[in-house]
């Protein structure tokens, strides 16, 4: 696939049937607002999110409907399987762009999303795949959401209990307990889904000590076993991630 320099913004970037960047934006927005699934989205919500006027939205939705990407009627708009495939690709590009910015360039969370929005427009499928490979197949974006595979499926993340992480190893937090008191304390100590922690000490069937950033945290076994994590892939990184 050759990208002509002067038409970068308008050249098709995916192997799927040609689709314009603005159409992609819409699909991405419908996908996200629909809760990354098949949720129904209202025109007003879409208009607000994309910062365009309602009539423009309606016009675009008609076009997308004709092309078979969405189902659209009075109650709202929903992605078709075809549309979903596209949307997932766009999201994947965006998330990998975010990962690239944080992991390699050391961008911090507050700026990452905005920058990725601009950055993603230069990525085509091939580059996106290369980035993913170079980053060592990260499972989640810096905010903790799962990155879709090239095929467009959301990979199932195997999660294990934090207590199963061996001493001295790092892991990525996926889920924390629901108890409000525990949540408040964990949030304050930065043990949040998407954050990397390291297992420092582990007493047999007893308490553990985690390293989170610069802070050492002791957790009872019952709380630690309710925290689900994923083993981190080791990959070459130059910058510091967003949470270290």
């Amino acid at each position: 696939m050759i990208i002509m320099a002067h038409t970068t913004c308008h050249a098709p970037r995916s192997t799927l049937p040609s689709i314009t960047p603005s159409e992609e934006e819409y699909l991405e927005a419908i996908y996200m607002l629909g809760g990354r699934g098949n949720g129904l989205v209202k025109v007003k919500g879409l208009a607000k999110d994309l910062k365009v006027k309602d009539p423009s939205v309606v016009e675009m939705l008609q076009k997308l409907k004709e092309r078979g990407f969405v189902g659209y009627d009075r109650s709202g708009v929903k992605l078709t399987p075809k549309g979903r495939k596209h949307a997932v690709q766009v999201v994947r590009r965006h998330q990998l762009a975010e990962r690239l910015l944080t992991d390699v360039f050391g961008y911090r969370l507050p700026k990452v999303h905005d920058m990725a929005c601009k950055f993603e427009h230069v990525l085509d499928d091939e580059l996106t795949d290369r980035i993913e490979e170079m980053l060592g197949n990260p499972a989640t974006c810096p905010h903790g959401s799962i990155i879709p595979t090239p095929k467009g499926t959301l990979q199932k993340i195997e999660s294990t209990q934090l207590t199963e992480t061996p001493k001295g190893e790092e892991c990525l937090v996926l889920k924390i307990p629901e108890d409000r008191g525990a949540v408040e304390r964990l949030l304050a100590l930065n043990v949040i889904p998407g954050v990397k922690v390291k297992m420092l000490e582990k007493l047999p069937r007893g308490a553990i000590v985690l390293l989170c950033g610069n802070t050492r945290i002791a957790l009872s076994h019952n709380i630690a076993s309710q925290i689900r994590v994923r083993k981190r892939h080791r990959h070459r990184r130059r910058g510091r991630g967003p949470y270290q």
């Binding site: 304050a188 007493l203 009872s220």
Partner: protein, 656 residues
């Protein structure tokens, strides 16, 4: 308001910060010894307040509890937040740990959002430097938009400068000059909700900045939502907030509260890194020791060693001090008092026992053992070892329905049960507070230790005293285990930061010990003297003797003790060491082994150690747990003592 009236109003300075940042050291440096401890109205959370004179004006300095964030669930955090929002201090002094800025700035972000005048004290600057980190106060001040003063509170460095600067900030009503913003996608939503708030709410509750109110509502802050709900016309705002929060959650795949927390942490981390220069340094002794205290192989032995060390210090140093003090009293002062009182007839006899022996009791038990204990405890605290003890003990604590953090109040029980029971406030559920309160009353306090050492230790040897300790500790575990299986309720766990180990410093250690002794002296000693007078009156009037006969089946039959031993046991209800003092009195001799057999001495000491808590402890139990629970504890320990004492007498497992 006219200038004169404004100046006459007292200025309030609130100290806010996480635990272990030297906030109390800072507080005590500026307030000295004159402090009052009180509860925030309607809660059990304590605030410490002091007054300082500054250029002729009085400044009220309030030390808020150590908190990790301005949360809405935990008691401490809610009280800290309410104390600020409802009482509106003139300046918030945020004490942060310069060696762990990244974690501390999380709270700072939240404080800045409140819109109050703030001064940041960059404390523990020496620790940061020792770790090779040099945070730049001027740069930090620029980034945060508030003044920043570096200090080393434990050495008093720059503390007055920080204090004076804080006063200036208060006078100038200088609010934070910057608003620290999150990612644009979040800020857009915040902006929308802010617009809605400005439209619908004529007056912002709690005088919060609009943006802050919006962020808090998006986070789902229960307390703020409740306050807003009370304003008429707020339903639309609350509904909008919920809708927007749901949108954020759907778009980002995580609750808005998590996202906001992450943003704050990221900001904290990025600011901390930007303003700090780093240098490579060798790991300190503290760091190397650190791994040993928590590792699987060495952590438990170290803890046992520390605990054993504490006990032996109590026995020997305490015992030594006791001899010196009591010896001095008995030789120089007591005879004079006895003869003076003797001239007053039977009332004089009561006074003699009450005051003379009462003070002897205080000198024999309270001062030496409690002083030694408070000192050792302060040293342990200062080194930062206690969280490690909590870590190692956590799984054992879970078996009795508690968790690691309960270790600290329970350890305090070895000194005196009274402050230990009060310290159970820091535990989260009523179930935990009940279990720990119950178990604390079984822990041998200084008074009980004195009785054990004075009977079994002195006449049978130190080994038997250790056996009694062993039996007691075993019973504590057993009772805790039973309570855990029996009582229903929520089980929580420990989530606790472990600060690095450091060398204890003499001044803070002595200062803490002094403050605690003072509190103890002012509260406990009047109670103890009163108890002593009660004992004296009952003794002199012979009221107790009428009881000996009827209760003898219990005393001799069940416990195998001489019938008159019931008298000191009853006195033990009031003051534990009263049991020892009265035992000598009814024995007619201080050579107790002539009066009772070894087995009887053993059973006596064991019963005194377990059976009901003293009156002072009962009072605190009632206040902390409610009188029904307190009554259950009293009755249970009483029955347990009878059971165990009786078993030992009848079965004589040690063959004495």
């Amino acid at each position: 308001m006219p200038k004169k009236v404004r100046e006459a109003r007292k200025m309030t300075m609130a100290l806010v910060g996480t635990s272990n940042v030297g906030k109390s050291a800072f507080f005590h440096q500026i307030t000295g010894a004159d402090v009052i401890v009180s509860n925030y109205p309607g809660t059990t959370v304590e605030l410490v307040e002091g007054r300082v004179r500054h250029r002729g004006r009085e400044v009220r300095v309030v030390d808020l509890p150590g908190i990790y964030s301005l949360g809405a669930v935990s008691d401490d955090e809610l009280v800290a937040r309410r104390a600020i929002l409802e009482q509106k201090p003139d300046v918030i002094v945020n004490v942060v740990d310069a060696s762990n800025l990244e974690r501390n700035l999380y709270l700072t972000m939240q404080l800045l959002e409140l819109g109050f005048p703030v001064l940041v004290v960059l404390n523990m600057y020496d620790v940061a430097l020792a770790g090779g980190e040099r945070p730049d106060p001027k740069l930090l001040s620029k980034r945060l938009g508030v003044p920043v003063v570096p200090t080393v509170a434990t050495r008093g460095k720059n503390v007055s400068k920080a204090f004076n600067q804080a006063i200036k900030v208060a006078h100038a009503r200088a609010r934070p000059r910057k608003t620290l913003r999150m990612g644009r996608d979040l800020e857009v939503v915040v902006g929308e909700l802010s617009k809605q708030i400005r439209r619908d709410l004529p007056e912002i509750p709690l005088a919060l900045p609009t943006r802050t109110l919006a962020v808090r509502l998006l986070e789902g802050d229960a307390h703020i939502a409740e306050v807003v709900a009370r304003v008429s016309g707020s339903e639309r705002v609350l509904r909008r907030a919920r809708t927007l929060a749901r949108e954020i959650a759907r778009k980002h795949g995580e609750p808005a509260a998590f996202r906001v927390a992450k943003e704050r942490h990221a900001l904290a981390s990025s600011i901390s890194e930007q303003i700090t220069t780093y240098k490579v340094v060798k790991p300190t002794v503290g760091q190397r020791l650190d791994r040993l205290t928590t590792s699987t192989r060495t952590g438990v032995p170290i803890m046992i060693a520390v605990f054993a060390g504490l006990l032996f210090l109590l026995f020997y140093a305490g015992g030594f001090l006791e001899e010196v003090l009591v010896g001095g009293w008995d030789t120089y002062i007591s005879p004079g008092l006895t003869s003076a009182f003797g001239r007053l007839g039977s009332a004089g006899q009561a006074l003699d026992i009450g005051i003379n022996q009462g003070i002897a009791g205080i000198l024999a038990v309270m001062v030496p053992y409690i002083f030694v204990f408070f000192l050792a405890f302060a040293v342990l605290e200062d080194t930062g070892y206690l969280p490690r003890m909590a870590f190692v003990m956590d799984s054992a604590m879970h078996k009795v329905g508690l968790h690691g953090r309960a270790v600290v109040p329970m350890l305090g029980g070895f000194g005196c049960n009274v402050p230990a029971v009060m310290a159970t406030r820091t535990l989260t559920t009523q179930r935990e507070r009940f279990i720990s309160g119950f178990l604390i009353t079984m822990i041998p306090c200084s008074a009980r230790t004195a009785v054990i050492l004075g009977t079994v230790g002195f006449f049978l040897g130190i080994r038997y005293a250790l056996v009694i300790y062993g039996v007691i500790l075993g019973l504590i575990f057993l009772v805790g285990w039973i309570l855990n299986r029996w009582l229903r309720g929520r089980v929580t766990g420990m989530i606790m930061e472990m600060p690095p180990l450091r060398r204890p410093m003499l001044k803070p250690v002595f200062h803490k010990t002094w403050m605690r002794m003072k509190a103890f002296v002012y509260v406990a000693i009047p109670l103890l003297l009163l108890g002593g007078l009660m004992i004296g009156a009952m003794q002199a009037s012979g009221a107790m003797d009428a009881v000996v006969g009827p209760l003898s089946p219990l005393t001799t039959g069940l416990l195998g003790l001489p019938a008159v031993a019931i008298v000191p046991l009853l006195y033990g209800f009031i003051r534990k060491e009263g049991a020892l003092v009265l035992l000598v009195a009814v024995a007619g001799t201080s050579q107790l082994h002539a009066f009772m057999s070894p087995l009887q001495l053993f059973v006596f000491a064991l019963v005194v150690a377990i059976y009901v808590p003293c009156i002072a402890t009962v009072t605190v139990l009632g206040r902390e747990l409610g009188w029904r629970d307190a009554f259950v504890i009293i009755v249970s320990t009483f029955l347990l003592a009878l059971l165990v004492g009786g078993l030992f007498f009848h079965l004589n497992p040690l063959g004495m």
